[in-house]
Amino acid sequence: MTAARHRHLRAVPSDRPASPPQPVDVPAVLSRETLLNARDGDPVAFAQLVRTYYPRCLRFAQHLLSSREDAEECVQDTFVRVHRALHRYEERERFDAWLFRILANRCRTARRRLTRWRLFHSADLDRVTPISTSRVDGFVARDEIWHALGGLTEEQREAFLLRHVEGLTYEDIAAVAGIAVTAVRMRVSRACARLRDTINEADAERRDR
């Protein structure tokens, strides 16, 4: 990454202070005790579980589905399913990996449904709004990110988000996607390469302007 590129990205119009945002850490995971209580049917513990994981789930679903409403619907479905299947969860597996497996399945289903729906309602296609594009900060604009993510295949996007945004291990992602670890590495690698290309192209366009 060159300094020039950073400077260029900072030049994007901003309505916020131009200081680079601090990376947001993954929220604190649920304590083991709360998780076990939720598994045993404690409603208070389950509410705590939802509060802890809801933002991460919504973030992931939004990035995959590009629509806040669909993402919220998917996340709600996911938590209902989690509630139904929580007694089957075994401690040897990471809880967030287990949760994201359910969520990813729901997102894939929703995406297929949306694709079909859009095929028959092509006139409404333009009305489907991606993640809010109005928020632009001093570093990277949201619409740029959306454009870059849109250049990835669905599988690449899912693998990239799980690895670098949600912080799952390659083994966990392999379990989520139902593929081999090497295939996950390949997907993430291709996603990174594709994103770099997109960033470079965007930079070149700006320089030309």
Partner: protein, 203 residues
């Protein structure tokens, strides 16, 4: 650096992607409400099923009794049949247990039925036999009188003979040399000659 790792060009993008969406407490409440709604439906369905079974309890209990009873009957019948089959093959002679049986059979046949002829089929399984004869007190133990026929290519040999009512002793002679009793019939030992014969009751 590996190609799948985040370098400085991607880092700001990933940082931006990691930003959590604006928290909406109502969304979490909606999720919990939906879970409770599902729970309520689930429990209601479970309660309805329990009520249904309670209401239909009498019928279900009766059906269960019938099924269990039929099962026990079938099981017992199977056990009795297998024991009977086992004992039929193991009964050695009429001398010990069968004397009384023979007496009863003769009494049952009755004196007035001596002249009546009844067709009776005799069968024996013998794969290697070339020829099988039926001998008995009804043909004066003559092996030439009743030759058995082979049932196609199978090992079954058979013959149907008309016999007068009463109790008869008989045996098979395989290949004109081997004296063989009927494995499916009672057997008796002739005290005079010391050979074992089978018994058939015609009535």
């Amino acid at each position: 650096m590996q190609n799948d790792e985040i370098d400085s060009s991607l880092q700001p993008w990933v940082d931006r992607l990691r930003e959590l969406p604006e928290s909406d407490p109502r969304a979490v409440k909606r999720v919990l409400a939906r879970v409770r709604q599902y729970d309520g439906l689930h429990n209601a369905r479970r309660r309805a099923l329990r009520r249904y079974f309670a209401r239909q309890g009498g019928w279900w209990a009766a059906a269960a009794v019938v099924v269990v009873g039929a099962g026990i009957t079938l099981f017992a019948r199977g056990a009795v049949l297998s024991r009977a089959r086992e004992s039929a093959t193991l009964i050695p002679t009429v001398d010990s247990v069968g004397t009384q049986l023979v007496t009863q059979a003769v009494d049952a046949a009755g004196d007035d039925s001596v002249e009546r002829l009844v067709a009776r089929k005799f069968t024996i399984e013998s794969l290697n036999a070339r020829q099988v004869s039926l001998v008995g007190d009804f043909n004066q133990w003559n092996p030439q009188r009743h030759r058995l026929h082979r049932d196609g290519k199978t090992a079954t040999w058979y013959i149907t003979v008309e016999l007068p009512a009463g109790l008869h002793k008989y045996a098979f002679i395989v290949n004109d040399s081997v004296w063989t009793t009927d494995p499916s019939a009672l057997r008796t030992v002739d005290r005079d000659f010391g050979v074992t014969s089978s018994l058939v009751l015609v009535q």
